[in-house]
């Protein structure tokens, strides 16, 4: 029993160490030329543009549900007027970055792990090395940077659409005045709410790309290995997003 526990702890520590070294290696290639701008542009398009529909829909419905639930909850102690404030606070600080992160982790983390994993098991990564190209520089570094830049951009849109979702429900269903709702939203929102959400998004974008690349890069054993890498990338990125979300919230807001 003790041996089993020990093996588990050693395995976890070793995994964390490998992931950290992989991340540092990938980051080091961002400052050592050459940088593959074409790969960066491709990753940016994949993460930022093609994830837009799923993130947008998630944000709108989350804003709508949040407005409805907040209104119904606050009605118990006659505080319905705080609905706009709760919606904007929740969306910008938490739900925008976390839900966008989780949706992108499912979409992009899986795709990265599958693509790089397939390259690994079909010798394409070895082929890169034989063609004078460092795989970390070509495959990993551009994706890490694209993750850090694309996710905050997505979260800005998610913030706007989330608030819009709340606005639609509040105005059309809950009889709020449109001008009052918007005034409440704008007056209550602080710069720090948005900035903290964007910093979280940048960290989440990095984690998603890191887990996708790491699991794909180390996949073994054909189709089954690539499948396992894909699952591990999504699960790992999702857990890391939630864990880092708490850490960053402590960092920004705990007094």
């Amino acid at each position: 029993m003790l041996a089993l526990l020990g093996r588990g702890v050693i395995g976890a520590v070793r995994g964390a160490g490998q992931l950290t070294l992989f991340a540092l290696d990938g980051l080091s290639h961002l400052v050592r030329p050459p940088f593959y701008w074409r790969m960066f542009a491709r990753a940016l398009l994949e993460i930022g543009y093609f994830s837009l529909p799923v993130v947008a829909l998630t944000a709108i419905f989350t804003g709508m549900v949040l407005a409805l639930q907040s209104y119904l909850g606050f009605a118990r102690f006659s505080a319905q007027s705080a609905t706009a404030n709760v919606v904007v606070l929740s969306i910008t600080r938490e739900l925008g970055p976390v839900l966008a992160g989780l949706m992108v982790a499912g979409r992009i983390g899986a795709a990265m792990a599958a693509e790089i994993g397939t390259m690994r098991v079909t010798d394409q990564i070895d082929a890169l090395t034989t063609l004078s190209t460092n795989p970390m520089k070509y495959l990993v570094a551009p994706r890490l940077l694209a993750g850090v830049i694309a996710l905050p951009a997505l979260v800005i849109i998610a913030d706007i659409l989330g608030v819009m979702g709340g606005f639609i429900v509040s105005v059309l269903k809950l009889d709020f005045g449109p001008a009052t709702y918007l005034a409440n939203t704008i007056h209550f929102m602080q710069t720090m709410d948005v900035v903290s959400g964007l910093v979280k998004a940048a960290v989440f974008g990095f984690l998603i790309a890191l887990m996708g690349c790491f699991q794909g890069y180390h996949s073994r054993g054909g189709a089954q290995g690539v499948g396992s890498a894909t699952t591990a990338a999504v699960v790992g990125a999702s857990i890391l997003i939630l864990a880092f979300d708490y850490g960053l919230t402590e960092l920004f807001f705990a007094r």
């Binding site: 397939t118 010798d123 394409q124 070895d126 082929a127 034989t130 063609l131 190209t133």
Partner: protein, 262 residues
């Protein structure tokens, strides 16, 4: 790095190469010399460690022990930039082609030239057509993606990619595996042609005897983690070594025993 060639020194020299994966010992002290300008064919059964040997020489897999010299340089002691420079002079044809799925054929072919900033993309696309012509493919193939090609065409594109940077050493990993006999002969012919034209040194690994005799000047057999025979490729079918003879003639009975569970 000292690049002066020596007439006595083999182009590639391997001594005491050992590599195991967990408890499985794959290479158990491999010694191999490949003379400059020659084509060495390494034969051996499936799982005998031929690909591992090639990947160790290329630096893709670190060996557990032993020495690998290319042009007199101990590859295992070179710094990363020196190893990259050495590797730039080596072309490799992978068993399954290993073409990049996400790139069109022309970009696959001139990938190394683009990566080393030796040509612009426009110039690269033009040069890719020339390389494709050298392996008997029309320039229009350059606009297709690898998934749109047959197995034989993929091998030819991979060969064009391997020779595009004009390497002076070429490695071929099972060049005819998965191809019909006629296409196998075509690929072998192209390999002989490009090796002769570039005047380089080649190592090919295969278990296809017809291919081995077509490609190689010299031959070696890897069995039990060691090189058990070396000689002329022309002598492969009558080597005088019982294990080599059993392998080349495909006999069930002989010193090589397959581990079959009944």
């Amino acid at each position: 790095m000292n690049d002066r060639p020596s007439p006595d020194r083999p182009k590639i020299r391997v001594r005491g190469l050992r590599k195991s994966f967990g408890p499985k010992l794959v290479l158990d002290g491999v010694d191999l010399d490949v003379a400059a300008g020659s084509s060495m064919v390494v034969i051996g059964g499936s799982g005998s460690g031929k690909s591992v040997l090639l990947k160790c020489i290329l630096g893709l897999i670190p060996p557990d022990a032993g020495e690998i010299e290319i042009d007199g340089h101990d590859v295992l002691r070179l710094s990363a930039p020196e190893r990259d420079r050495l590797r730039a002079g080596i072309g490799m044809l992978f068993q399954n082609g290993a073409l990049f799925d996400s790139l069109p054929v022309w970009e696959n072919v001139v990938f190394a030239l683009l990566a080393q900033r030796r040509v612009s993309r426009r110039e690269g696309q033009k040069r890719a057509g020339d390389f494709l012509a050298q392996v008997g493919l029309a320039p229009t193939v350059g606009d297709l993606y690898p998934a749109e090609l047959s197995g034989g065409m993929q091998k030819r594109v991979a060969l064009a990619r391997a020779i595009a940077a004009r390497p002076d050493i070429m490695f071929f990993d099972e060049p005819t595996t998965g191809l019909d006999p006629i296409m196998g002969a075509v690929i072998d012919g192209l390999i002989v042609d490009v090796v002769r034209r570039l005047g380089g040194t080649a190592i090919a690994i295969t278990h296809d005897m017809a291919s081995a005799r077509r490609i190689g000047d010299a031959a070696a057999m890897l069995h039990g983690g060691r090189i058990i025979w070396t000689g002329l490729a022309a002598d492969l079918m009558h080597s005088g070594n019982p294990a080599v003879d059993q392998f080349t003639h495909g006999r069930r009975e002989g010193p090589i025993q397959m581990e079959l569970r009944r």
